[in-house]
């Protein structure tokens, strides 16, 4: 491949520019104009007074994880381990157990997310086949003073959760004699 060369012309420096002082004065005048304008009218301020004032996050902003629950308040997660498999940071720890209800069959006895290790990529949400894990809580990971407090267990994740409208287990209408 041939190398293409673009020639950039040197800027024209006139005597006016090279004499330095007039250009400095011009720059300072722009700064002062902005300063006094914002001091009295507050028309053009781009900063916000965080944390008193908070910006609205976009709808798909990935915040702290939450676990959704079924209609009866039980966790939706069936401990399929798809999220922990997809997780590039290995921050999800799940221990599956047998559920007394045979139609649910399997549930996570332990579900812990290390929020410090999480890289907020959202792969767990994409991997979840049950709409059980979401990152739409809108809360961003706050600082932790103790490492232990960064481990979010099942009750903590469910507390942020809500009921899911997704239909669990596919369309089961008309199931005959389902035990």
């Amino acid at each position: 491949m041939a190398v293409t060369v673009t020639k950039i012309p040197r800027p024209d420096r006139s005597l006016w520019v090279q004499s330095y002082v007039p250009e400095v004065m011009r720059g300072l005048s722009i700064t002062s104009k902005q300063f006094f304008k914002n001091l009295f009218t507050k028309k053009d301020v781009v900063t916000i007074q965080y944390p008193e004032v908070k910006r609205d996050y976009p709808e798909r902003y990935r915040g702290l994880h939450r676990l959704m629950y079924r209609d009866d308040g039980q966790v939706r997660c069936v401990a399929c381990m798809c999220c922990s498999t997809a997780c590039p940071a290995n921050c999800i720890h799940i221990e599956a157990a047998e559920h007394d209800d045979t139609s649910i069959e399997k549930y996570p006895a332990v579900f812990v997310i290390d929020e410090l290790r999480c890289i907020v990529c959202g792969m767990c949400v994409e991997a979840c086949p049950c709409d059980a894990i979401r990152m739409d809580s809108g809360i961003h990971t706050h600082p932790f003073y103790e490492r232990d407090t960064a481990f979010f267990d099942k009750p903590a994740l469910l507390e942020l959760g809500g009921p899911s409208v997704a239909h669990q287990g596919g369309d089961m209408k008309g199931v005959q004699g389902h035990h």
Partner: protein
């Protein structure tokens, strides 16, 4: 010997060979559910239908025998269309709850669906509900909805174990696998049905929901539950064995293994000891500990007759060869004994009454006469005195708890009691020196089974703590004693084993 052409490749097979076998010889996999090489072919799943030229319709490859001049197509348009239709029929009532199902990741139905069908369901009617989590046997759980009624499990109980517990009950889409009234799937090989089940209908109570299959790494290994030494796939995750699955080995176990052996993997995980202890100190390095042991043995000024070496029928041949070398030339033991696990129930199929995986290796290294000097004799000799130092290759004993405590109490009275063990227990706490060693899942080792079949396996994962391979313990102890040591690698030990065999 008929010659057939399959997908354009010619193959000559013995008379009576099914098309599916002939295709396998050419490396062509014909998708199938109900066919299993060790069982009869009922041709009921219709998954292996292939196109045979001059035949009026598609033929089941598992059932139709190869004839001379037969021309078979296994991936033609017609065959693939039939396969898709079969999958669609099976999936009419199969719940697509792969996230819950334990078979996900090693499910034939899942694999074939992804390979051939991969379409959403066209059905608007609901699925037929069937029994869930049905305890079909003490070790096996049945799920009627996931079952595709291939009847592999039924044929296994009829043709392999001959116990005939299972049958198909009801008709059509209500069919389920059940035990005959008053019976349950409780034969000693019952868990094999979970291996041959192509879907997640039969699962073992033990492995159920324990670990997803795609997380595990599989290493070819053997079962050390008895003298049969069945070849297994040792599936492990994060340095822990999760399960055994039988590995095809026509010389040993074919496709099967017993339930007791399958569950014997638990010994690899439970109550392991990875700590090296000499006296009260457990913070020593191996070279330092080896020097202290050599020093203590030299200081004790023992006669060979006062030193006992206890070989183990539980250890690998490499360990036994190295242990023998160490006992003769460095420890200079004058008394030799052997220990192992107590005999159990045996049968004519796979299970051996001898629960020790390497009695043949023990005899190979220490000679036939050592078998006369077992653990009972050791206990008797310890009680009568005369032994002042004891070296044990493993803590496996054919005793109940009481007798083990008795032996531990006797061993406490000795000047020096060195124990190489993989497990913590009363014996290891009685020992003056406790040396942590690896299990067969953590080291290279050769085990010789009851029929003289030697199987060499490699380490699946690293041993716990500072534990090392058995043979390496003797190398390090020899280095601590500043002695000549000819067996400083597995290769050197293998060279000795095989030169011995050549000399015989």
């Amino acid at each position: 010997m008929p010659t057939a052409t399959i997908n354009g490749k010619e193959v000559t097979v013995p008379r009576g060979t099914a098309i599916i076998r002939a295709a396998a010889m050419l490396g062509i996999n014909v998708p199938h559910f109900c066919y299993h090489p060790a069982l009869s072919a009922p041709a009921n799943c219709r998954m292996c239908l292939v196109e045979v030229e001059k035949a009026r319709k598609l033929e089941p490859a598992c059932y139709l025998k190869v004839t001379d001049g037969m021309v078979v197509h296994t991936e033609s348009e017609k065959v693939v269309a039939a396969r898709q239709a079969v999958l669609e029929f099976i999936l009419i009532n199969h719940p697509v709850d792969c996230p819950i199902c334990d078979q996900a990741g090693e499910c034939k139905l899942q694999d074939y669906y992804m390979a051939y069908d991969a379409k959403p369901s066209r059905l608007t009617t609901g699925k037929v509900g069937k029994v869930k989590v049905y305890p079909i046997g003490p070790e096996v759980v049945y799920d009627g909805e996931r079952c595709i009624l291939c009847t592999r499990c039924v044929r296994f109980c009829d043709q392999i174990t001959g116990t005939s517990e299972l049958t198909v009950v009801d008709r059509g889409d209500r069919s389920e696998i059940r035990t005959f009234p008053g019976r349950e799937l409780d034969n000693p090989y019952s868990m094999n049905v979970t291996d041959i089940c192509p879907v997640g209908a039969l699962t073992t109570r033990d492995f159920r929901f324990k670990c997803r299959v795609w997380l595990m790494t599989s290493t070819d290994s053997i079962c050390t539950g008895c003298a049969r030494g069945c070849s297994v796939h040792l599936d492990h995750y994060l340095g822990e064995t999760q399960r055994y699955r039988p590995r095809f080995n026509p010389e040993v176990n074919e496709y099967w293994m017993c339930d007791e052996g399958r569950l014997s993997y638990k010994r690899l995980n439970a109550n392991r000891s990875g700590a090296l202890r000499v006296g009260e100190r457990d913070d020593l390095s191996w070279p330092r500990a080896a020097r202290m042991i050599a020093g203590a043995l030299a200081d004790a000024q023992l006669q060979p007759d006062q030193i006992a070496f206890v070989a183990s029928a539980d250890a690998s041949t490499e360990a036994l060869v190295a242990g023998h070398e160490y006992a003769l030339n460095i420890l200079r033991a004058g008394r030799f004994y052997w220990t192992g696990r107590a005999d159990g129930e045996g049968d004519a199929f796979l299970r051996c009454a001898d629960r020790n995986p390497n009695r043949a290796g023990l005899v190979h290294s220490f000679g036939e006469q050592i078998l006369e000097r077992g653990a009972d004799r050791l206990l008797k000799d310890l009680k009568s005195g005369g032994i002042r130092a004891l070296f044990m290759m493993s803590s496996a004993l054919p005793f109940g708890r009481e007798a083990v405590e008795e032996l531990a109490a006797e061993a406490r009275k000795l000047d020096i009691f060195i124990l190489a063990t993989s497990h913590a227990g009363s014996l290891s706490s009685a020992a003056t020196v406790s040396l942590p060693v690896a299990k067969h899942s953590e080291q290279t080792g050769t085990w010789v089974n009851i029929d003289g079949v030697a199987q060499t396996v490699d380490a699946a994962y690293a041993p716990p703590g500072v534990a090392i391979a058995d043979w390496d313990v003797y190398r390090r102890l020899a280095a601590g004693a500043d002695a000549e040591w000819p067996l400083d690698s597995v290769d050197a030990i293998h060279a000795r084993i095989f030169s011995d065999e050549a000399a015989e």
